[in-house]
């Protein structure tokens, strides 16, 4: 277990009577893509929010490189190496693409308490930002206002911002949602590259992508992990076919 | 301090709170349904008082005066909703604050232009003048008791309206999800005009009721407006129940603070300094209360996030 980067133990979260996550445990190992699948409302996004600290857990613990993250807020967790992308793009829309990337690089630096030095002339920050934009294929779009980007480009920018943080873990919430076929292909290529710098916990509805990319898959139903395994194991697991895919659905 | 005096002061706090509720109910409703901060709510209160004073002077009837206050404020409310306010629903709070601040300027000076610079006369009806003796021997002004009763009736009416009627269902639906009720075929523009006019009418009604025991003058709305904001922020913006609880809380805190603080300070200070410092602190008390509530519960007592 020495190569475990992120470990989640017995997470619970209820909203009133609704149990969004119910005793969830899973881990993420170096170099892997671990996909989290499940029907709508299974608690996938809630789980991500709990891991990043945006939502407080009712109980359970999260470890990053064996450090217990209890009591640390979302900003602190990001500084410790949790890089995430959002289900719905979450960017500073009035800023340019480059500014959003620089913001990420600034986060990597750890503070923004510099008041008089022009940030867009800071070579170290710009380098990090450009290289991230380069990696996701947005190098040409640095000067564009984020609000003017296409949907797919915003997804790419999300990834780029996460990249600038040089995180220890990527948490990606449906990075391919709403992308066309071509966009999805590009994103798959990008994620394949990224797994080398840090493992990815991936929520995705696109089953083709999941089964093509993931090293392991966990299935979340009604807030519970009903199975974890390789794509092949999951494909043949009868319980999953019954509970999630439905018996009559051929794969 | 006798127990009787203490009870009388509690009644006073209650009455003040009820009056604040009348003012706050419309404000919180408008915010809850339309997401609008309306600083001009105090102007509607003033319009109600002026309309009542003008009608009472012309007809001598207090009932007619009250009806006039409802009508005038509702009309003014509907008018500004149709012409100005509806352009502000999609704007941020800053634009709303500024636009309705501009409305205050227009209404205040416009009223002064129409009615002159001197306060108007509006008196309590003869039937309600003077005090009644309550059980236990407390003499209490009949009119103030009437305000308490009316306030509770209005509160009950508001709860019934929101919870029991079709229009209430629509209002609640509008709070939850604008697109949804539009999709259900409700004319949202009409609903908004109605809600705004209703809030305005309540404010105007409060202005007329209170005008009878206070001074009907230009600028009478702003101090009450600030209090009403304190009330709805304490209660949680958008919640009628919150407005009710907040209003009573503010009414009681303010009244009891004014009454008790100087006496508390007098226990360990010389009298005139105690009166001075106690009064100073009393005038800050509701703001301290509000800051305290917000620090503990950033969305007020009954606010939803």
């Amino acid at each position: 277990m020495t190569d475990t980067v992120l470990r989640v133990e017995n997470l619970f979260k209820s909203f009133g009577a609704l149990r969004a996550t119910n005793d969830v445990s899973l881990d993420l190992r170096a170099g892997e893509i671990h996909a989290l699948i499940g029907p709508n409302g299974a608690g996938k996004s809630t789980l991500i929010q709990q891991i990043t600290g945006h939502l407080a857990s009712d109980s359970g613990r999260v470890f990053l490189m064996e450090e217990d993250l209890a009591g640390i807020g979302p900003a602190g967790r990001a500084r410790r190496g949790l890089g995430r992308t959002f289900q719905i793009s979450s960017l500073a829309m009035e800023h340019t693409v480059l500014q959003n990337a620089v913001l990420g690089a600034l986060g990597r630096r750890g503070h923004a308490m510099s008041f008089f030095k022009p940030v867009m002339k800071d070579v170290a920050l710009l380098e990090a930002a450009h290289s991230a934009l380069d990696q996701v294929g947005l190098a040409q779009h640095g000067a564009v206002r984020t609000a003017d980007l296409s949907h797919g480009q915003r997804r790419q920018l999300e990834v780029a911002v996460a990249l600038t943080l040089r995180p220890k873990v990527f948490l990606m919430d449906e990075p391919m949602a709403g992308l066309g076929l071509e966009g999805a292909q590009q994103m798959i290529g990008l994620l394949t590259e990224l797994r080398n710098s840090a493992p990815i916990l991936l929520i995705e509805h696109d089953m083709d992508a999941v089964f093509a990319l993931a090293d392991r898959i966990s299935v979340l139903v009604y807030g519970e992990v009903i199975a974890t395994g390789t794509p092949d194991e999951i494909r043949v697991n009868p319980e999953i076919r019954r509970a999630y895919l439905g018996d009559d659905v051929p794969l | 301090m006798t127990p009787l005096l203490f009870i009388e002061q509690l009644l006073n706090g209650l009455q003040f709170g009820v009056m604040l509720f009348l003012m706050s109910a419309g404000l919180t409703l408008v915010f809850g349904v339309m997401g609008l901060i309306n600083l001009a709510h105090g102007s509607l209160y003033m319009i109600g008082a002026f309309a009542a004073a003008a009608v009472a002077a012309a007809t001598g009837s207090f009932i007619l005066a009250l009806m006039a206050s409802l009508a005038a404020a509702a009309l003014a409310g509907a008018l500004i909703e149709l012409t100005i306010i509806r352009r502000l629903y999609d704007r941020d709070h800053l634009d709303q604050v500024l636009a309705t601040f501009a409305l205050i300027l227009i209404f205040s000076e416009g009223t002064r232009w129409l009615f002159g610079s001197f306060p108007l006369f509006l008196d309590v009806p003869a039937a309600l003048a003077g005090p009644v003796t309550l059980p236990g021997g407390i003499e209490y002004p009949t009119y103030r008791l009437t305000i308490i009763v009316i306030g509770f009736l209005v509160a009950a009416g508001m709860f019934a309206l929101i919870n029991r009627t079709r229009i209430g269902i629509r209002i609640r639906a509008g709070e939850a999800d604008r697109e949804m009720i539009a999709a259900l075929g409700v004319d949202i523009a009409k609903l908004y005009t109605f809600v705004f006019a209703l809030g305005a009418a309540l404010a105007g009604f409060a202005g007329a009721l209170v005008g009878a025991i206070q001074s009907v003058q230009v600028g009478m709305g702003e101090p009450v407006l600030i209090l009403a904001f304190v009330v709805i922020v304490i209660g949680g913006i958008g919640s009628i129940k919150g407005a009710f609880v907040g209003a009573l809380l503010v009414g009681l805190t303010d009244t009891m603070g004014r009454f008790l603080l100087p006496q508390v300070f007098a226990l360990f200070m010389e009298p005139s300094a105690a009166v001075s410092i106690g009064s100073a602190l009393a005038s800050m008390l509701i703001y301290i209360l509000m800051a305290g509530v917000l620090v503990m519960r950033p969305r007020g007592l009954y606010g939803v996030s």
Partner: protein, 327 residues
């Protein structure tokens, strides 16, 4: 250069040119009006940092304006009467030195902003507007009923305070002093907008979650912005008190907060020169409309309404177009 830059230069030229003309034409009151515009602009620049860049709609900035004013009033009144401010545990004397007064004003209003900010920034949206209003009202009522420094009557200072090498009683020289401060602060604000802090703060306004997810605390960013903002408005308050040689609780009233906000809206929210243009127009309106009619507030209201409804982005927005994303 962008159209906005040209507009900004023109603004400064008018702001400096009008009093120069008035000085030559011996119209000292026009210089006083211009000084008033400069000081209001400075107060607005302070609020604009919180409001425009940080998205913090504070309806309590009069508190800092007034605290700055009282810093001047209290220090100068003690110097005027040759009585020390405090004697135990050590003696603090009053002073007539503007530099000392400014430092005290900045420090005092920054401290007040820190205290108010720590509590208020836990809330957001309307609640933030209202809690800042509440703190403002608290200080206002305190000032009215606190007898030591004049209460509602306020404090009169007979002579302006001293600045080395400047005869502050000459309207033109005092204007020059205020104008220089405004320019310095504008330069600083321009740098700040383009700094790492400015980028992070405005990102926090646009998207709080985004800033959190890159490991920065919006709360801290906003608190720092609120403190700097309060300090600048406090400095403006000290100058305003010196302009009038008088300070009173009116400077602390919520209407004052509203007025400072109006400057920003008229000029353009978040624009560097928004409050400058706004304050100039406001003073002009007050002067021109006030002479036209007793009921000039009606016209002012109608004009404000028109700006809010139809000129989104204020005067700068209307003249210079949408804000260009910073390079």
């Amino acid at each position: 250069m962008s159209r906005e830059t040209y507009l900004n230069i023109a603004t400064l030229a008018v702001l400096a040119g009008v009093p120069l003309w008035a000085w030559m034409a011996d119209e000292p009151f026009t210089i006083t009006l211009a000084t008033r515009a400069v000081i209001f602009a400075l107060a607005g620049v302070g609020l604009n940092l919180a409001l425009g860049l940080g998205g913090l709609v504070s309806l309590g900035h009069a508190a800092f304006f007034g605290i700055g004013g009282y810093a001047m009033g209290i220090l100068a009144s003690h110097a005027q009467s040759y009585t020390p401010l405090i004697e135990v545990p050590f003696v603090i004397e009053g002073t007539k030195s503007m530099i000392v007064i400014w430092l005290v004003a900045i420090l005092a209003s920054a401290l007040a902003a820190l205290a108010i900010g720590v509590l208020s920034l836990r809330t957001s949206g309307v609640y933030f507007i209202m809690i800042t209003l509440a703190f403002g009202q608290m200080i206002y009522y305190f000032a009215i009923s606190w007898p030591a420094y004049g209460g509602e009557d306020g404090l009169s200072i007979y002579l302006r305070n001293d600045f080395p090498g400047v005869n502050t009683l000459m309207p033109m020289q005092f204007f020059g002093l205020c104008f220089a401060i405004l320019c310095l602060v504008l330069v600083g604000m321009n740098l700040l907008q383009k700094s790492a802090f400015g980028l992070a703060l405005s990102a926090a306004r646009q998207n709080e979650t985004r800033v959190l997810s890159v490991g920065m605390e919006p709360y801290k960013l906003r608190l720092v912005a609120f403190v700097i903002s309060g300090a600048i408005t406090g400095l403006a308050g000290a100058l305003f008190a010196d302009l009038n040689r008088f300070v009173s609780p009116t400077m602390l009233s919520w209407q004052m907060s509203g007025e400072i906000m109006i400057f920003i809206i008229i000029g353009g929210v978040g624009r560097l020169f928004g409050p400058v243009i706004g304050a100039m127009i406001f003073i002009l309106l007050e002067h021109v409309l006030g002479g036209l009619s007793e009921f000039w507030h009606v016209y002012l209201g109608a004009l404000l309404l028109g700006i809010v409804l139809f000129a989104k982005g204020g005067v700068i927005g209307a003249l210079a177009g949408r804000e260009k994303a910073h390079d």
